[in-house]
Assembly symmetry: C2
Homo-oligomer: 205 residues x 2
Amino acid sequence: MSSITLYDFPLSGNCHKVRLLLSMLDLKHERVPIDVVAGQTGSAEFQRINPRGQVPFLVDGEVGIWDSMAILVYLARQHGTNRWLPNDPIAETGVMQWLAVASNELLSGLARARAVWRLGSPFDREQCQQEGRAGLALMEQRLEQADWLAANHPTIADLACYPYAALADEAGVSLAPYPAVIDWIARVEALPGYVPLVERESNAG
Amino acid sequence: MSSITLYDFPLSGNCHKVRLLLSMLDLKHERVPIDVVAGQTGSAEFQRINPRGQVPFLVDGEVGIWDSMAILVYLARQHGTNRWLPNDPIAETGVMQWLAVASNELLSGLARARAVWRLGSPFDREQCQQEGRAGLALMEQRLEQADWLAANHPTIADLACYPYAALADEAGVSLAPYPAVIDWIARVEALPGYVPLVERESNAG
């Protein structure tokens, strides 16, 4: 039996994508916290495990995988069903198109604009916000006509695009012009197995 | 019979990725030039065809696909063989990891540093170069041990990473510290069906 380990930074939207799918697939796993702010991704110890030096990084038995997009594809194929990532080339391409938007407009745009505020990253915030808004406008156009980004049911495309869209306020971008995106965020958050970005302290103590 | 149309900007490295695979798969297609510098990607006419408003954009019969990564996946699945993109989940993930590097370190790094020089884009060139060098260092580490990025033969991972690595000088980044990358660039350029970024004027006239 292989065992799954996720190298994880709790505040990272990219890590959140992976935690969402792990939870929705109900996959047992261990989480190893890596403190990005303290520079742990750049440590020799972590780079021996992951030469790319970024989180999320997933280990499943003998296999190590960098990048949230590659991890989502891997988990869907290896542990999921083709509802999360279809095998049919045209349906698969529909998912890939939105994974590309997640890696471009949303990551170079919204995630970086958020990192300026949260981590003091040296990006041009206004430029990032403008790029992020282009991604949200594209999502809005799709979600005015459909409940989910790439199919008539949730796929990894929705999980890849969700975190930084849902964190748009931390990027200084209002979602008010994107009502269909707001409704879609609520649908993602209502999915079985949804977990929030940072788990709240238990009330049960 | 479906017909393939590529909306294309000759100087774009992202478009070059697609032209490479179209040529290596020997797929007949039409090319429609879109002048990015003149703002044609933002025109209402182009956005009716492609709401994302970027090139490359590929139309195959009834299907329209944005983003070079999604187009490479589509062409490999629909018109290629599983040598270009394996079906086995672990081998497929190996390709996806490098598609992610192509969309992140190489695109946010090298392509943007090049765009500062070539298009006057308003990015912080030094920051982009630093990100690009991180991508090249990661490729170097792999290519010191293997001829190709994701398998023991070329895959779409190589075509996705090639253009902006080969154009590093236009990004103001020297390849001298990455000799294994230099050798790999030569291997890509020796593949059957390779076409250069900008086709030279014919000598035959």
